[in-house]
């Protein structure tokens, strides 16, 4: 059974004097504009459901006014949802219904189970950095010496050692948000709510902070609910992304799913300007051998040799089990080397045609592109079991980058005709 750390079901927030009256219209599935025209109520969050797995980095992306910050605040009830339920999985008390907690229970939840990082940092200006970071521990009534210890450790973790006695106003924006992050990490809550934490920072600092957050996340394995209006940030950080438009979630998926198959016009518009090279993977763009662009050249005992129509002198070998059996160029076997290993070496002056690169299915377009500067021959996608999952030529790379298009359907499972190609399809989990 899959455990969900947070389960939000039908969360709805309506602003106005009589939210209940507008709730009926929300339940009928009416749009935000309709409801506003009819009742004068603003629908902040419209019937949103999602769930987070332990340790997941879940990003909610939307433009301003899409309701993403409101939704985040419905999770720890800084804003009271009008309808819907939010459940939290805890280690000691099983699943807790956050929406049903009384004020004391809610304070307990905010103290020990969820912490938060804010867009405008929201540090306490009258407290030193150390006292800011230990605020949550003070509220938890931890002994002062222990709080100081944890505080200093967290300040070290975010790279601010030596600033313990400074005040927030003496620090730059990026440093202030490090304090905000350390303050949230210090409570040792398993769930971290982050409300556009890097939006107020310069692009360069923003990138640094994203990298560091990923590093910290690797170390501490908190479950993160992260809000942003920046799709590139969402793609960079998120294990999964939920895209919001006027209070609704219009698509939830992995970064690659969002880029390659945007479900609505709205999502497609966003994706158009996103940089896909770090998101789209080789298994998505790779052409499987049963694609019409490939033809069977000849068979040898146990091995079929297939060639691309555009490159008749390059033969790719596959055995009956679907395993990769080497490449021949103009009749001669050429060595196959792993892409990630070759990238460590300096690039040659001219691209080689006497060697092919193999790569695992999860390598991104960025690495494949760099690989093209070493070797002119197509890259072979081979999974951990040694099976050939597909081939990436320049054409697939260009299509992937410019059109954000894959050659393999990410979700669907296709039956391969056994005659044509016994290799399992790429993209099938």
């Amino acid at each position: 059974m899959v455990i969900h750390v947070i389960r939000a079901q039908g969360v709805t927030k309506i602003f106005g004097p009589d939210p209940e009256s507008a709730l009926r219209l929300v339940e009928q599935g009416r749009s935000k504009d309709d409801i506003r025209a009819e009742t004068g109520h603003t629908v902040g969050v419209n019937n949103v459901s999602f769930s987070l797995e332990p340790g997941e980095f879940f990003v909610i992306m939307g433009l301003s006014g899409s309701g993403k910050s409101t939704l985040l605040r419905c999770i720890n009830r800084l804003i009271e949802p009008t309808a819907g339920r939010v459940h939290l999985q805890t280690e000691d008390q099983g699943e807790v219904d956050i929406t049903g907690l009384d004020p004391a229970g809610l304070r307990e939840l905010r103290k020990i189970r969820m912490s938060m990082v804010f867009q405008r940092f929201s540090l306490f200006p009258h407290r030193t950095i150390l006292d800011n970071v230990t605020y949550g521990l003070e509220i938890q009534r931890r002994p002062r010496s222990r709080a100081k210890e944890i505080g200093e450790e967290m300040i070290g973790l975010v790279g601010l050692s030596g600033y313990e006695r400074s005040y927030p106003s003496e620090l730059s924006g990026g440093m202030q948000q490090r304090v905000g992050l350390a303050r949230a990490l210090a409570t040792e809550a398993h769930v971290l709510l982050m409300d556009e934490p890097f939006s107020a920072l310069d692009p360069l600092i923003k990138m640094q902070m994203q990298d560091e957050l990923l590093k910290i996340e690797e170390k501490l394995a908190r479950t993160i609910l992260f809000i942003t209006h920046d799709l590139n940030e969402a793609l960079r950080l998120g294990d999964r992304i939920a895209i919001m438009e006027s209070g609704r979630v219009v698509q939830i998926g992995t970064p690659e799913e969002i880029i390659v198959s945007p479900r609505t016009e709205y999502v497609a518009d966003f994706v158009e300007h996103a940089d896909p090279t770090g998101v789209i993977t080789s298994q998505t763009v790779a052409l499987s051998l049963q694609h019409p662009r490939f033809v069977l050249d000849h068979r040898e005992p146990g091995v079929r040799y297939v060639r691309h129509k555009a490159q008749p002198d390059v033969l790719i070998g596959v055995d009956e089990a679907g395993a990769f059996r080497g490449v021949r160029v103009a009749g001669k076997e050429v060595p196959a080397r792993p892409l990630l290993e070759v990238l460590e070496e300096p690039a040659p002056d001219t691209r080689r045609r006497d060697m092919v690169l193999t790569c695992p299915p999860d390598v991104t377009l960025r690495e494949l592109l760099r690989g093209r500067t070493y070797v002119a021959l197509p890259a072979i996608v081979v999974d951990a079991a040694g099976r050939l999952r597909g081939v990436v030529t320049e054409r697939e790379l260009v299509e992937g980058i410019l059109e954000k298009r894959g050659n393999q359907d990410l979700g669907a499972v296709e039956e391969a005709p056994p005659e044509a190609d016994p290799a399992p399809l790429a993209g099938v989990p």
Partner: protein
């Protein structure tokens, strides 16, 4: 007839007897509740007498040095030197005793203003209803000419320095209440939200976030309260209070211009010392 028609005599025949009502109310309070007012006078009396005895008991030189050190600590060495010079000068004017009496009155009035005013300001900041009710009351306290309520104060609390201090408390408390309320309301909403998000109780938010951040504004209110109480202390001389109001009042009555002059000078210098010192305290409370 015609004059009646146009209302020339509109106000001649009928007046609303508010004047009688007020007199009756005060008399009623006096005859029924005088013991009560005499009781609430007690704590003021104790505090005033204590501080007064203390200030008068300390040798002037020691007192000057204490004030110097205090002003230095609270503000700067410049304020320390200024305080030393100003109060030394007042001493050589021959008004040291009166100055100490006035200082005792101001301190005890301000103590009561803080004890009552700060909690009222906090309440007002947390409840719009309470703030709305409180506002006209504060307006009345601040704008009613002091002479108007000196009469009922005398009737209920008798004459003397204690009655003077009570009148001073009434007059000088409003700015502290107003600025406490304002200071807490001005604390940034996002900082309070952050405190809430970490599970703080309303009480923790108040004491760990709102009051510390409102402190500079509260200190500005305290400064105003001190200044107002100093101005009222002089008027209190009219109802028999001692201190620096006395030479001014005597000078006025007997046309002794010089006496009134040095009294006034001493009040101004004391006011400047208190102002600089409390402003310094406010700056200390200001976070960076």
């Amino acid at each position: 007839m015609l004059a009646d028609l146009f209302g020339y005599h509109l106000f001649d025949n009928h007046t609303i007897p508010v004047r009688e009502w007020i007199a009756a109310a005060v008399t009623w309070l006096y005859s029924n509740y005088r013991p009560f007012f005499q009781t609430i006078k007690k704590p003021v009396e104790w505090l005033l007498n204590g501080i007064n005895a203390g200030l008068h008991g300390v040798p002037p030189l020691v007192m000057l040095l204490v004030i110097f050190a205090l002003a230095w600590w609270a503000a700067s060495w410049r304020v320390g030197v200024f305080s030393l010079a100003a109060l030394g000068f007042v001493g050589f004017l021959g008004l040291w005793g009166d100055t100490m009496t006035t200082l005792a009155m101001v301190i005890s009035a301000v103590v009561f203003c803080v004890v009552v005013g700060v909690p009222l300001g906090i309440l007002a900041s947390r409840s719009n209803g309470f703030a709305t009710v409180l506002r006209p009351i504060l307006d009345v306290m601040q704008t009613t000419p002091a002479f108007v309520y000196l009469v009922p104060v005398v009737m209920l609390f008798s004459i003397g320095t204690v009655a003077g201090v009570i009148a001073t408390i009434v007059f000088s408390m409003p700015p502290l209440i107003r600025l406490t309320n304002l200071g807490i309301r001005q604390v940034q909403g996002d900082v309070v939200e952050a405190a809430t998000a970490f599970g703080s109780s309303p009480r923790e938010i108040l004491f760990k976030v709102q009051i510390p951040l409102a402190l500079p504004t509260i200190m500005a209110g305290l400064n105003q309260t001190i200044m107002l109480s100093l101005s009222m202390v002089v008027i209190a001389a009219l109802i028999g209070a001692g201190g620096l109001g006395l030479p001014v009042f005597e000078g006025l009555n007997a046309l002794k211009t010089g006496l009134a002059g040095i009294g006034g000078l001493a009040i101004v210098l004391l006011a400047m010392v208190l102002d600089r010192v409390t402003q310094g305290l406010g700056e200390r409370g200001r976070h960076r």
